[in-house]
């Protein structure tokens, strides 16, 4: 790789870390030649940008899976059926999760659209009072939009909302409408619209629960994802137990030092019952975790944190040799 390309990469690496380093060391607000500088003003937006940048790798991961397992299937390598299962399960799950997400978004959009009507009525009355726009055509548009939503379940609520809208329109038609009458009618209409929104939300939820995509995606999660995940992790219990057998054989004093706390922790965690050995075991367990495990782990953590920080600085300043860089150099 040419020197220039390397320099560009090093420059971007440095710039990437510089903001977060300065954001940490600089005070929130400070003066510079008479100007007040607020360094972390856009911190949330920048952090969001970083998350977006990280999320862009998702597609790369998917492409990699398809390239690896697609090649195995196409070349009919041994156990290609497993790769086929992997890709199919990925595609089916992704399809139904996406469909479920679209159904959820549709439901939320429908509810938000009706919730929005309350704000619309308030805006129309406010605009009328400040003489910004004529209210009657706007309320007529509200009636038209409500008429479009008619369905047997919503008929009553829509009728009530439309009739209250018409009363409000009559109030507005009267020149110099009495302010109190106008506001009380506005509140009545808002209550009617809130009732309509509740009904719409209930119906949208019922329709969503019946949605095929929602049913299939929750079926996949409940029948495969959750049981397979917990079975995988619990499988380790068997291996941990065999490891325990090996490590708990007291071959040295150090093995004894591992065994005694481990045994006390395990016995202390077992719920009380008729076969309980000693009632003070849970307290011993808590004491061990608080006064032995916690400080020892803390000391290890301090050491690793300092090492991690040193490593981070090396990475930021491009002092660490990149494995990716090596590949590139090997290719010439």
């Amino acid at each position: 790789m040419s020197q220039l390309k390397n320099k560009i990469i090093v420059f971007f690496t440095f710039i990437g870390g510089l903001y977060f380093f300065l954001e940490y060391i600089l005070p929130e607000k400070w003066q510079l030649i008479g100007y007040e500088i607020e360094f972390g003003k856009y911190h949330d937006q920048i952090t969001q940008g970083v998350i977006i940048l990280s999320l862009m790798t998702i597609g790369l991961g998917i492409i990699n899976i398809f390239m690896t397992h697609g090649a195995i299937i196409l070349k009919s390598r041994p156990h290609w059926i497993n790769s086929l299962v992997l890709l199919l399960s990925f595609l089916i799950t992704a399809f139904y999760l996406t469909s479920d997400f679209i159904a959820q978004e549709k439901k939320n959009y429908t509810i938000a659209r009706f919730e929005n009507l309350e704000l619309f009525v308030k805006t129309v009355v406010e605009d009328y009072e400040t003489k910004q726009s004529a209210p009657l055509p706007r309320l007529q548009a509200l009636i038209i939009s409500l008429e479009k939503e008619r369905s047997p379940e919503l008929n009553a609520a829509i009728n009530s909302s439309i009739s209250e809208t018409k009363i409000l329109m009559r109030e507005l038609e009267v020149n110099n409408a009495v302010k109190n009458n106008l506001h009380s009618q506005k509140e009545i209409l808002i209550v009617a619209l809130q009732g309509l929104t509740k009904q719409v939300a209930r119906l949208a939820q019922i329709n969503y629960e019946k949605d095929k995509a929602q049913l299939v995606s929750s079926f996949i999660k409940n029948s495969l994802f959750i049981p397979l995940g917990s079975a995988m992790f619990s499988l380790l219990a068997f291996y941990v137990v065999t490891a325990a057998y090996r490590s708990f054989r007291i071959k040295s004093w150090e093995a004894l030092a591992i065994m005694i706390p481990a045994l006390l922790i395990m016995l202390g965690q077992i719920p009380h019952g008729p076969a309980y050995i000693y009632s003070g075991l849970p307290d011993i367990r808590t004491w061990l975790l608080k006064n032995l495990s916690s400080p020892a782990f803390r000391a290890i953590f301090f050491g690793s944190a300092i090492a991690g920080l040193a490593m981070a600085v090396r990475m930021w300043l491009s002092l660490e040799k990149s494995p990716v860089q090596d590949d590139e150099q090997d290719r010439g």
């Binding site: 990437g16 870390g17 060391i25 917990s230 020892a296």
Partner: protein, 240 residues
């Protein structure tokens, strides 16, 4: 629990039980049944891990506002709020992130290294804050009084708490000494002896970790076995 045959919950329970059996079949030996379900799990979890951040973050906070889809229209065609053109700034990380994909074209693969380097730099810069946020409270908490004499506590409680704090600091100090390599230690010197005691205390710590891990895994195993006995077996028996 009672199951009605061939309902959704019955199918769910039967398939969940088969999945558990497939995974546990590995205890006998590596087999095709296990491999198949292992790949099934990888496929499903990859899809979930991929879709979830897009669903909860990328769409909600980035794409939706960028495309102006978070603005609701009033019935008269006006909008609740004007389009915020600042959202167009999201195009910068999207464009910059798309450079990752140049890794697929050998000629331009170096462009991906810019983005990778940038992200590495960010993680390096973030490490200062992250480390200090985690380490500082723990350092502060480690400065514990060696002698406690609180009037609201009994003399016995004060004594126990003082001894606990002394022991805590001995463990912390001696374990830290074990990782202290700044100068050469003399054999049988004080530092060497403290670090040896630190090693012993670490063994105790590892034992405690090990015990906790075993119990956590066993809890998962017990939960799965309970599911097999209380739910799956009942669902299977509903067939007969």
């Amino acid at each position: 629990m009672n199951y009605t045959l061939f309902t959704l919950s019955w199918f769910e329970t039967i398939l969940a039980g088969i999945s558990v059996l497939a995974i546990y079949s590995f205890l006998y030996r590596e087999n095709k049944f296990y491999r198949l379900f292992e790949h099934l799990f990888i496929g499903i979890s990859t899809a979930i891990v991929t879709i979830e951040p897009i669903k909860t973050f990328f769409w909600q906070t980035t794409l939706k506002p960028l495309l102006g889809l978070d603005r609701l229209a009033f019935p008269d065609g006006t909008y609740v709020a004007d389009y915020d053109f600042n959202y167009l700034l999201f195009l910068i990380p999207i464009f910059f992130g798309s450079l990752y994909y140049s890794i697929l074209v050998p000629k331009y693969s170096w462009l991906a290294q810019i983005t990778i380097g940038f992200l590495l730099g960010i993680s390096g810069g973030m490490a200062f804050n992250a480390t200090m946020v985690e380490v500082t409270p723990q350092i502060i908490d480690s400065f514990r009084p060696l002698y406690i004499n609180l009037p609201e506590q009994s003399a016995r409680e004060n004594l126990i708490n003082s001894l606990n704090n002394i022991f805590f600091l001995i463990v912390l100090f001696s374990t830290s000494c074990y990782f202290f390599f700044t100068f050469k230690r003399k054999p049988n010197g004080v530092v060497e002896k403290i670090s040896t005691s630190g090693r012993w205390l670490m063994m105790g710590c590892f034992g405690a970790f090990f015990g906790t891990t075993i119990m956590a895994r066993l809890a998962l195993l017990i939960e799965r076995l309970q599911f097999m006995v209380d739910h799956w077996w009942v669902a299977v028996m509903a067939l007969f």
